[in-house]
């Protein structure tokens, strides 16, 4: 299908790090209100570094490819470094995404962020959460909100 770059298709065909980490240190789940898709990210942390990461995605081709790319980018990074991964970083690493599909890459970046917050919260390290500017995220998670606000794609209604 012509809409995606070769790189996106390559990650879709052979997604890296698919699956579940049963004894994960942090788990983050995000739902996409635009399309109803869903993603969960699992991380294992040692010495402030993400040593293992896995994902599960119910979503379009872009969602699967961006999850895969985000896990690749995050693996081996410190928490601080991993938090710098945004939807732009992921999309760029994939050679771009079609405009209506940009929002799909939010899922991966947000799920990763939540997995990190979850890890810190489980550790009781709320100072660090504050220091990293993640209180808002934590609040949303405590409220059980799975949904993030995203920009909407092009809408064809008259």
């Amino acid at each position: 299908m012509g809409v995606y770059s070769e790189k996106v298709m390559e990650h879709f065909r052979n997604p890296r790090n698919v699956g579940v980490i049963e004894d994960a240190d942090g788990v983050g789940t995000v739902g996409n209100p635009v399309c109803g898709d869903l993603m969960t990210m699992y991380i294992k942390v040692e010495d402030d570094r993400i040593v293992d990461i896995k994902f599960q995605t119910f979503g379009c081709g872009a969602a699967i490819a961006t999850s895969s790319m985000a896990t690749e980018l995050a693996k081996g990074k410190t928490l601080e470094e991993a938090l710098k991964i945004t939807r732009q970083t992921v999309a760029e690493a994939l050679g771009g995404l079609p405009a209506p599909k940009m929002h799909c890459s939010n899922l991966a970046a947000d799920a990763l962020r939540r997995a990190i917050v979850d890890y810190l919260r489980k550790k009781g390290d709320f100072d660090r959460i504050k220091q990293l500017g993640l209180e808002k995220e934590l609040e949303k998670m405590e409220k059980g909100e799975e949904e993030e606000d995203h920009e909407h794609g092009e809408v064809c209604e008259a």
């Binding site: 299908m1 081709g61 794609g153």
Partner: protein, 384 residues
């Protein structure tokens, strides 16, 4: 290469291409008085006759347009504007093509009222609910004959009777049904019928609108009085000739083709529902277009299935091409009462003239593994 996306685009029949070729090259404008112009005029009129014969109409009741979307616009806007003095209420259904839905929204912004009749879980519009919705000021009822997205065929003849008895005009969108099942304007009691060329293996960029004699509409494309003054602009002669040829072939072949396709359809539906657990049919199991296989799979998303199918060189669709832009589940699937994530797991296979039994076997061989692979990636599957 199993191409199973005929609803999105049909290949053009070789015989149609052949008929068109001379008219691509020649200059003839059907409005010119000289002999070259006359030849073009005759070709257009011959095509009109052929399209009319396919739907049991008279030639002077058919006009040519640029396609089904224009025909839907012209039928509804043209009729509503011309007959607004009789009333400003229109009745349609929740599962119409997006061009009808958007035309109705446009009219709503311009002083008309529109009632959208819901459908049952198979996509059937009840005749009674149409009858109840028609008021004294209802001027037009628009119902599709069959849905390309879920395959469901409406009880169009009974609806036509009801509309007639209530003295409203009846528009039928026959884009998906033409050439696949019988389309007879008399049996349907239709006043306006939308016809598409590409859906019957004719060229893209051409369509038609049947307008019953005596039914008044207003043109929306103003020009030099072409097409009985209802659609301005020099005729697309080659395209119209192709549409005519496609109609001629469809008239001869649709019955045998429908029989052949229905067998393949049934084999494919049975095969999928058996091979993949938690898979379901969208649309009506019997009142169904012979070429339509609309299914859905729990826990997986349609686009990722399409990409995976395409990797195996199988082309299918999630339904309406529009959906892929908005990312919203299709309004047709939502009208069936499906949940968001159920609608998202829908895949549409549409067969056609060049589909072969081996194609069906090939898809049945590949599809279960594809769904399984994606389910293993899905958080919903695990959460069960």
């Amino acid at each position: 290469m199993p191409y199973m996306d005929y609803a999105a685009g049909c290949p053009i029949d070789e015989r149609v291409v052949e008929a068109m070729v001379p008219y691509f090259k020649e200059p003839g404008n059907p409005s010119s008085v000289h002999s070259v112009g006359l030849k073009a005029r005759n070709a257009v009129e011959e095509a009109r006759q052929k399209v009319a014969e396919l739907i049991n109409a008279n030639a002077d009741e058919v006009i040519f347009t640029s396609g089904a979307t224009e025909s839907n616009n012209l039928a509804i806007i043209g009729y509503a504007m011309r007959n607004a003095s009789k009333g400003k209420h229109i009745v349609t259904t929740a599962i119409e093509h997006i061009s009808i839905i958007n035309v109705c929204k446009y009219l709503q912004k311009n002083g008309f009222e529109v009632t959208y009749i819901p459908v049952d879980r198979y996509g059937i519009v009840s005749v009674d609910s149409i009858e109840e919705a028609i008021r004294d000021d209802t001027i037009l009822v628009s119902v599709q004959h069959a849905s390309s997205e879920i395959g469901t065929i409406q009880e169009i003849e009974r609806i036509g009777e009801v509309v007639k008895s209530k003295n409203a005009a009846f528009h039928v969108d026959a884009t998906a049904s033409l050439g696949k099942i019988e389309v007879d304007v008399e049996k349907m009691n239709a006043d306006l019928v939308t016809l598409s060329s590409n859906d019957i293996y004719g060229p893209r960029g051409v369509g038609g609108l049947y307008i019953r004699k005596g039914v008044k509409i207003q043109p929306i494309m103003l020009g030099g009085g072409q097409e009985f003054g209802l659609r301005g602009g020099t005729e697309n002669v080659a395209g119209i000739v192709g549409f005519g040829k496609a109609a001629e072939i469809a008239k001869q072949e649709w019955r045998s083709e429908a029989e052949r396709l229905a067998k393949m359809r049934d084999k494919m539906i049975d095969g999928i529902l058996k091979a993949v657990e938690e898979s379901y049919l969208n649309g009506h199991p019997e009142k169904r277009l012979p070429n339509n296989i609309a299914v859905r799979f729990n826990y997986v998303e349609g686009e990722s299935i399409l990409l995976s199918l395409d990797m195996e060189d199988i082309q299918a669709s999630t339904g309406s091409a529009c959906t892929s832009k908005t990312l919203q589940p299709s309004h047709v699937l939502m009208a069936l009462g499906l949940k968001h994530e159920e609608a998202h797991g829908s895949v549409l296979f549409t067969l056609g003239r060049y589909s072969k039994e081996e194609d069906v076997d090939y898809v049945l061989e590949k599809l279960p593994g594809i769904v399984e692979r994606l389910r293993m990636m899905s958080p919903l599957y695990r959460r069960r």
